[in-house]
Symmetry: C2
Subunit: 471 residues, 2 copies
């Protein structure tokens, strides 16, 4: 046994003996090198080996941490296999029933669409709002119609530099949150009767937009690990006259998948060969747990076919309702859709976000937020492993704040949702993510909050509700 | 000649001799009674006589003012006579071309959709924004989805008391300005293929919404004085399967008509007898020049068929984008449309408007604003009388900030619009208000600004452009 293997075994024993417990930080490479009198290279190889075995994981600029025991890591849900036919969508009423039920203030918000507001720098935003509003030129109130305040568009363009993208601010259209961005984008590229390719399962608001505008959906199989199946998408593009594609490329809602970079490039080539525009819903991109931000598919788009939609609602300021589309050649078309539906986005709010971004501190906030989300995911996973039925499968998203839970067959997510609601615990049942209300044994759980023992208790109670639902 | 007639003649002479000039305030009744040693009743009768002759006009809580000489009052444009067939709408591209051209900062804004921002209490709003944002509960950020912040809905409900309407705040849905309110309302009551009865001419955004959702329009003749022709509307309701009606009942845009109260009652009865809902666009209601606020048609609605849409964009804070629908039985349907298109309206902005309204001062601001608008209308009318071609007809709206100008036949509004734009003077040409681009010899002019000699010069220049356009 090599020295690094010995060291790895030692550490593994400490974990098994709970000397090192789940969530604990391992000694730094320098400390371990001194303590064990081995080279730093040996420590690193040992840590890498443990990481490969899933016993520890790295956290950028922070160190190595103990993960839950391997036996406790449940498999991911299987890739989906939807019908290849196009479908009209009929899920509205059920979605509304659920969404309306989960907003009550005194519930445990595992069903919420947003991270907990306590995770946002609301006082700093309020200060930016105050100073920005006082400094607005009165003419800003009536003259900055779409595409939106120049300074905010410039700040957003600057953020694209972090993933190596050089963006012209004039190609960005500011919207009232990402949902408006997505709706405007859809309207800019498709009309009634058109076929839209979507993931399966899919974000319920995408389903609703397709229904609202009289379009049809074709669902493409999606792997909870690496996203939409390109072979199946190619088949769909051959079989149907697909007018546009609507996908979440990073930390897909609900399954948590991210399309690897190479495959994003392939996706763009595939769509370009059919001249099919992509509406890229990328609102969770800034919530990555890895070392580097994931690139959007838009980064590989040479033909200007991608409408890249982002938002500050998930990572900075949900109630402010500021999103955008980096729309490229569709920008002027979006301007018009915007002008004729909501005219412009609240000017003081745009100015406040621009001011906050200009002051700096956003990246610092994001680092803290990501760490909180990653830790809370771990806590929620542990409770599911401990308290949910044997045979439960579980997504392992590397960003965002949703877990996608596949219960064994014959568990009824809607019945569980209703039973949990009676105990004031919310969640989203799988069927809201399907045009035909499938995914009847799936739950989406939000872990986007600072973990507390009360949340831990709520998860235990939820485990009990789930288990007893089969009694 | 009776004493009051003598007094009226004396004052009339003073006006003719320009001792009293247009816009001057007459002595109060008490002052005049003392000065002329007549009873107050005599003064009042004299003033009434002068008012009947159009030489002076009353302004509530302010006094009597000299109006332009009667000879200078051009007739109103004639009632419209559109085809009775339903129409698909095809005016989008032209409307956009115009709207995009008129937002440039260095132009004279007779084409603007808003009053000048200098007329709004922007510093008081900024102060309300600052304090409201700091006081927001973090949970307000994610939990007040539609219908919107309770305090703002309560303040809006309170304002309905001014026209004697008792409104449940829960029947109000807050929107991103009135345009979103109107769009959501239309979607709540009609779908693709449905026929919508509208005025002729009609607000271009109504035309665009009907086009966007694949609906059809039937245009109803509209009188520039008292609005939509009820007989013609009754015919349209008999002839077509009208799914909804979209009307501006007060200070219609562009013609400036207001439906008298009795006729509003008749309108509601007519629509109720056909079970046709009314989308009532009432965004100019607070800008009345008379003594009392005009009632909306909604005030007479016993069946809950009216969706009453209002806004703060025209009279308080255009860039804030806060509007509402008092939707009654359609409120929950609107909530859903809103949730699925823009989720909610900017929370800090809602809180700021609620705070501003709660502090008081809004009615004082409105009184000042109305007076400014009324005076500026007078100034603009005078320039039109002086500088526009013989045979020009002109609306006489008793509120709002638009004049509707009918040039003699064969004047080309679009050519005039283009020539004026070259001299950096904007306006809206008539064809943007018609599905078939009619009203080719009409202009809509915005007088919503504090009148200056520069504006007077711009009107003179415009008169020259108009006159020379026929050379």
């Amino acid at each position: 046994m090599k020295r690094y293997e010995q060291l790895a075994e030692e550490i593994s024993h400490q974990i098994a003996a709970r000397v090192l417990r789940v969530g604990d930080r391992l000694p730094s490479v320098r400390q371990a090198s001194q303590a064990h009198r081995v080279s730093r290279g040996t420590v690193l190889r040992a840590y890498y080996a443990l990481e490969d075995r899933g016993e520890i994981r790295t956290r950028p600029r922070s160190g190595y941490y103990v993960t839950p025991p391997r036996a406790a890591v449940p498999p991911r849900p299987l890739p989906t296999r939807p019908s290849t036919a196009t479908r009209s969508v009929d899920v509205r009423d059920f979605v509304f029933e659920v969404l309306e039920a989960i907003t009550a203030r005194d519930t445990v918000p595992f069903g919420s669409a947003f991270p907990s507001p306590e995770l946002f720098p609301l006082q700093k935003l309020a200060s930016a709002m105050s100073s920005a509003t006082r400094r607005l030129d009165p003419r800003d109130m009536v003259e900055h119609l779409p595409p939106g305040l120049p300074e905010l568009r410039r700040q957003i363009a600057r953020r694209y530099l972090q993933v190596g993208m050089s963006v012209d601010p004039d190609d960005i259209v500011i919207t009232a949150g990402a949902l408006e961005a997505l709706n405007l984008s859809l309207r800019a590229v498709a009309g009634p009767g058109d076929v839209i390719a979507i993931e399966c399962p899919s974000f319920y608001a995408a389903l609703d937009a397709i229904e609202r505008y009289g379009m049809k959906a074709v669902e493409v199989p999606t792997d909870p690990s690496d996203g939409v199946n390109l072979g199946a998408l190619a088949d769909a593009l051959k079989k149907h006259k697909v007018k546009a594609c609507w996908l979440m490329t990073n930390f897909q809602n609900p399954v948590g998948s991210s399309i690897p970079e190479d495959r994003k490039r392939d996706l763009i080539e595939l769509l370009a060969s059919h001249e099919v525009p992509l509406i890229e819903d990328d609102v969770y991109a800034d919530l990555y747990f890895g070392e580097n931000p994931p690139k959007p598919a838009k980064a590989f788009d040479k033909r200007g076919l991608v409408l890249h939609c982002g938002s500050f609602s998930k990572c900075l300021a949900p109630g402010y309702r500021i999103g955008w589309t980096y729309a490229g050649r569709y920008a002027r078309k979006l301007d018009r859709e915007k002008l004729m539906t909501t005219i412009t986005t609240s000017i003081p709010t745009q100015a406040a976000i621009a001011q906050y971004l200009g002051r700096g501190g956003y990246d610092h906030h994001l680092r803290t937020l990501r760490r909180t989300l990653e830790e809370s995911q771990e806590h929620m996973r542990q409770r599911i492993v401990r308290d949910f039925p044997q045979g439960t499968r579980l997504s392992r998203p590397e960003g965002g704040y949703f877990l996608w839970v596949e219960l064994p067959p014959h568990y009824d997510a809607v019945a569980i949702y209703r039973a949990a609601l009676e105990q004031k615990i919310t969640m989203l049942p799988g069927p809201v993510f399907s045009p035909q209300r499938k995914f009847t044994n799936f739950l989406r759980l939000n872990y986007g909050m600072k973990w507390t023992s009360a949340l831990d208790d709520a998860m235990a109670a939820l485990g009990k509700i789930v288990s007893e639902s089969r009694a």
